[in-house]
């Protein structure tokens, strides 16, 4: 009996050693700078495509890129990972913040240790980072979505929104801007419902089906959560209401290409996420090397050229509209 227990103990320890004992030392020995990039959620294809651009930038600059984030959007986990990086002693951190205030504590700690901090995609508090690489402001995104929705509906009618989760900060921001634009410019239009899909394509499909059934005059479904766009599209297709109910949203070209070509989705709005990752890494590295300083008015990022800086925001540009004409040019 004793030996069986001991065996298990030894086995566990051995397994640990076997799996993890790695002779690899950290790159301290190699002298490469370490840039850490954090998505809001690791599995989200949106952030994975940011990583593609980031990897490219890291290769061009000769730095080591660490990419880690919570598996599902989780502010607490983001903090934990930032603190990991602090004790790892990375040179710069680029974070897409799930929660503005929550992440700022950890980021300030990093700054105190001499680590440079930029945020991208979703900002933290201003004093917790040097720059915010913004693909477009939430206003720009919200307005672009609302304007496109209005255009497709002829400025009148009912539409519904599918979001990721009711608590996701970024989505709340966009929703607020959309509602603001709606109230200001399109009084003839009505937002009848906002339903969460928990980042699940299938749930979005169920929600969209119910929405169409409950609101027979529904003209458009807008999904601001990227897995929700193909879900809503499939729902419209299965309901046989292609063309009667339009679908737009924030989504990735690859996931939605089929539906765009079939005419189920009219347009998806995004920005070049690869460029976002690329720009973020360039900015982080430049900060770490003291080449980019607060107060700068523009910033040159490798092969992408010059980017405007407004205050402490590095702007990628305006939101980009993908539709039937141009979607084949993109692969992410």
């Amino acid at each position: 009996m004793n030996s069986s227990r001991r065996l298990f103990l030894q086995g566990t320890a051995l397994a640990l050693v076997g799996c993890l004992a790695s002779p690899l030392a950290l790159t301290a020995a190699e002298g490469k700078a370490m840039i850490a990039l954090m998505p809001k959620s690791k599995g989200n294809a949106y952030f994975l495509s940011c990583k593609i651009g980031a990897d490219r930038a890291a290769k061009e600059l000769g730095v080591e890129l660490l990419f880690d984030g919570p598996v599902d959007s989780n502010a607490a986990k983001q903090n934990e990972i930032v603190e990991n990086w602090i004790t790892l002693g990375v040179d710069a951190i680029a974070v897409a913040a799930e929660n503005k205030e929550g992440i700022s504590t950890a980021l300030r700690k990093a700054q105190k240790q001499g680590i440079k901090v930029v945020t991208y995609d979703a900002d933290a508090l201003a004093d917790a980072r040097s720059f915010f690489v913004n693909q477009a402001t939430p206003e720009g995104i919200g307005y672009a979505l609302m304007d496109e929705a209005a255009r497709l509906c002829g400025n009148t009618g009912e539409f519904a929104m599918i979001t990721a989760s009711l608590t996701a900060a970024n989505q709340r921001e966009w929703q607020k801007k959309i509602e603001k634009r709606l109230a200001e410019k399109y009084p003839q239009m009505k937002l009848v419902a906002v339903r969460p899909c928990d980042d699940l394509k299938d749930k979005a499909q169920s929600e969209a089906t119910a929405l169409m059934s409950a609101n027979p005059k529904l003209k458009l479904i807008m999904s601001i959560c990227s897995p929700g766009v193909p879900g809503a599209a499939e729902a419209v297709k299965q309901a046989g209401r292609v063309g009667q109910v339009k679908v737009i949203g924030l989504g990735l070209p690859n996931e939605n290409r089929r539906y765009v070509k079939e005419g189920v989705i009219d347009s998806i709005i995004l920005w070049n996420t690869e460029n976002l990752g690329y720009l973020s890494v360039y900015a982080a590295v430049a900060l770490a090397n003291d080449q980019l300083k607060p107060g700068a008015k523009s910033f040159k990022a490798g092969t992408l050229g010059e980017f405007k800086i407004e205050g402490d925001q590095i702007l990628l540009g305006k939101p980009f509209l993908f539709n039937k004409e141009n979607i084949d040019q993109f692969d992410f």
Binding site: M34, D68, N99, T167, P196
Partner: protein, 345 residues
């Protein structure tokens, strides 16, 4: 020559060495040493970084406090043969309530904190009434309250409202140090000490194990089963509320999605610590060690170069925790099976 007394003593010494808690302690020391060796290095700027830094150790301590509190809350519940899946959802609800009390109602921090703990106990009372009072199965009741509490948190905030901008005085609970340790660690230690006293040194505490072993037998023995069983769920609610305060202070925000998924790790810590899920057997020390093993595992893995390169810290720590749990279960069961087979043949 061996006298009966020396035989007794040597037996006792061996027994202590092979107790579940001791083995867990060995695992803890082993993994800690492994991570210290492989996860510490000197970085480009000449700083010692990685697992071996004091900062890192404090981080581990800080992060263990909330799950640790939940695990402590679950220990008497599981000892008494019950289970509570709703503790993490209750944490979320209490966090949101605290946010509302301080922001919308403008209550002072101490009053709001007290009210939150009271409301947490009250919510635990719902579980207590249904489980101890109506004798409904704990798994189902707490499955229901798992959804209900989280749902109430979402409804109270309309899913959207986040409370932040807490007074720095409050935030220091989660972010500062006091007497060289993180503040919340002291709270955690206090609750741990209290829980240990309750479970191991009071009459009520000892009754938990009896109730878990055989509720009917306990009733026949004259123990106040219903009252004590109700008590553990109310207590769990109160502790979840305390954990909510710490969580909110650490993150600086109170949101409806606080602590989603924490209950799984809390239960894992309790079971890893040697407490039988059926009740009747276990200890608070075991739970504390279980929390420590899991926390060190999770944090330590993230410092290993190979894990960083794969950026798979969460996945690998999750899988290893699963394996560890199964190993711990098998480790306590297989010896019995083997000796039973031996006895039969």
């Amino acid at each position: 020559m061996k006298t009966p007394q020396t035989l007794e003593r040597s037996h006792g010494w061996r027994k202590w060495l092979l107790r579940h808690e001791t083995l867990l302690l060995v695992v803890l020391v082993l993994e800690w040493s492994l991570f210290y060796y492989f996860g510490t290095s000197v970085n480009r700027r000449g700083m010692t970084v990685g697992f071996g830094t004091l900062d890192r150790q404090f981080d581990i301590l800080r992060h263990s406090c909330e799950i640790g509190l939940l695990a402590l809350a679950l220990t008497p519940v599981i000892l008494a043969g019950g289970i509570d899946l709703s503790v993490a959802s209750l944490l979320g609800l209490c966090a949101v309530i605290f946010g509302q009390l301080t922001h919308d109602l403008g209550l002072s921090l101490s009053i709001a904190a007290g009210a939150t703990v009271a409301l947490g106990a009250l919510a635990g009372g719902l579980n207590a009434t249904l489980i101890a009072g109506l004798r409904l199965p704990p798994l189902i009741v707490t499955l229901g309250t798992y959804s209900l509490f989280r749902g109430l948190a979402e409804a109270l905030t309309r899913g959207a409202v986040t409370y932040s901008d807490f007074a720095p005085r409050f935030l220091s609970l989660g972010q500062d140090r006091w007497l060289a340790l993180p503040v919340q660690a002291w709270v955690f230690f206090a609750v741990a000490a209290g829980m240990w006293m309750l479970v191991h040194r009071t009459v009520a505490g000892r009754s938990f194990r009896v109730i878990g072993f055989s509720p009917e037998g306990a009733r026949f023995a004259g123990l106040p089963v219903t009252r004590n069983l109700a008590g553990v769920y109310v207590l769990a609610g109160a502790i979840a509320a305390i954990a909510a305060l710490i969580y909110t202070a650490r993150l600086g925000q109170a949101k409806a999605d606080a602590a989603i998924g924490y209950e799984l790790f809390a239960i894992a810590a309790v079971v890893l610590g040697g407490t039988s899920i059926f009740g009747g057997r276990g200890s608070v020390t075991g739970t504390l060690l279980g929390v420590a093993v899991i926390a060190v595992l999770k944090n330590g893995l993230a410092t290993l170069p190979v894990v960083i390169r794969l950026n798979a810290a969460e996945e690998i720590s999750g899988m290893l925790t699963g394996f560890l749990l199964l190993a711990a279960l098998a480790g306590s069961t297989i010896p019995k099976l083997v000796s039973a087979r031996r006895n039969r043949s």
